[in-house]
Symmetry: C2
Subunit: 229 residues, 2 copies
Amino acid sequence: MSKNDGNPVFLFDVDGTLIDSAYQHALAWREALEQVQIYLPAWRVHRYIGMSGGMIVHALAREAGRQLSREEQERLPKLHGEAYAKRVGEVKVLPGARELLSALTNAGVRWALATSSEREKAKPAFEMLGLNDDVVIITRDEVKRAKPDPDLFFAAATKLGAEMLHCIVVGDSVWDLLAARRARAIGVGLLSGGYGEDELIKAGAYRVYKDPADLLAHLEETGVRTAGN
Amino acid sequence: MSKNDGNPVFLFDVDGTLIDSAYQHALAWREALEQVQIYLPAWRVHRYIGMSGGMIVHALAREAGRQLSREEQERLPKLHGEAYAKRVGEVKVLPGARELLSALTNAGVRWALATSSEREKAKPAFEMLGLNDDVVIITRDEVKRAKPDPDLFFAAATKLGAEMLHCIVVGDSVWDLLAARRARAIGVGLLSGGYGEDELIKAGAYRVYKDPADLLAHLEETGVRTAGN
């Protein structure tokens, strides 16, 4: 059993959780799909954001009732990357994201980032967050299967030397929360990716907060012990 | 009392309900706000889509904790219009929207459109829907107050010669459903604007469907009598 000071260990999703990018990702996938003659409305695409690129491609094609050629399967994540790059200038850090991470660090609480995105696509997000070099970051490239499989969270916990039993997964999508359950971690939902509260509760969220700032304001509900409590 | 053949009368919201434009509107408002140094995350802006432009401006500024000058109040809807115009090329008709309107017409069910948008901004949507010249359309320009005030729906019902008691309001946002309740109409919610189901139920939806196609597939639940039932 790893050392446990009584504090939980936090594993954060990135897009929609720390970075205000879920809507740009949704519209970028929508644009990519159109380029292979698949039309799905934005709200349906939105509901798949947070899955890995490979899985999202299959899920969206199935929803559109269409078989994809191998060439299309390989092309779609690239098309999404291009369509997202056009929109990344609009993307900002979510309220309280930097403050939340600093507060955890200052309280001696360990945390890591775990994203279904490839490292290359997620780079602008990491830069916006102004992370130190020693932050543990697990991306799509480092695991066999991304969310809703729990591999990303297992890898992050392992790299932190933490037990899953002490981990809290924070994410904006049902895929984060389903992966959290499969990892036997506690899942905390944030509304900042645009899902409704009930969708996150039904996917197993222990608590749902508005955004990183709101989680920071209620940190004691997750078991974090800071000076004075 | 107006004539009633046993069929309800349908009053449709447009953006997010018949047209897949809610995400573009959300990002366009976000961009407009940034131009007056107000930053709100996309999911928060998204939750105000469907309100009238004037009201949305006040609500968003209040949420951002900021007083607006009269010049900014007047400028913001214009900035939104410009930012939306850049995105309107992406916008499409939602699945089943045209078919739903045709099915109602063919069944002799009366219907109208009622949008918080100004006629000028909503024009591309009307064109996409391929409406006949005789369709009743009420826009922001024709009423004193837009949603969540019920004026748009009152005006639409009056123009159709229908009683509110026989009307079903169909919309994707909580503002449509709140306006429906204030008008004492039945409200039907669609998920196609990106809200979660519980948000629409809690705002008083009688039923919630995925999109216009899903409403069409369950039309009998709203009391429509077509041949054979």
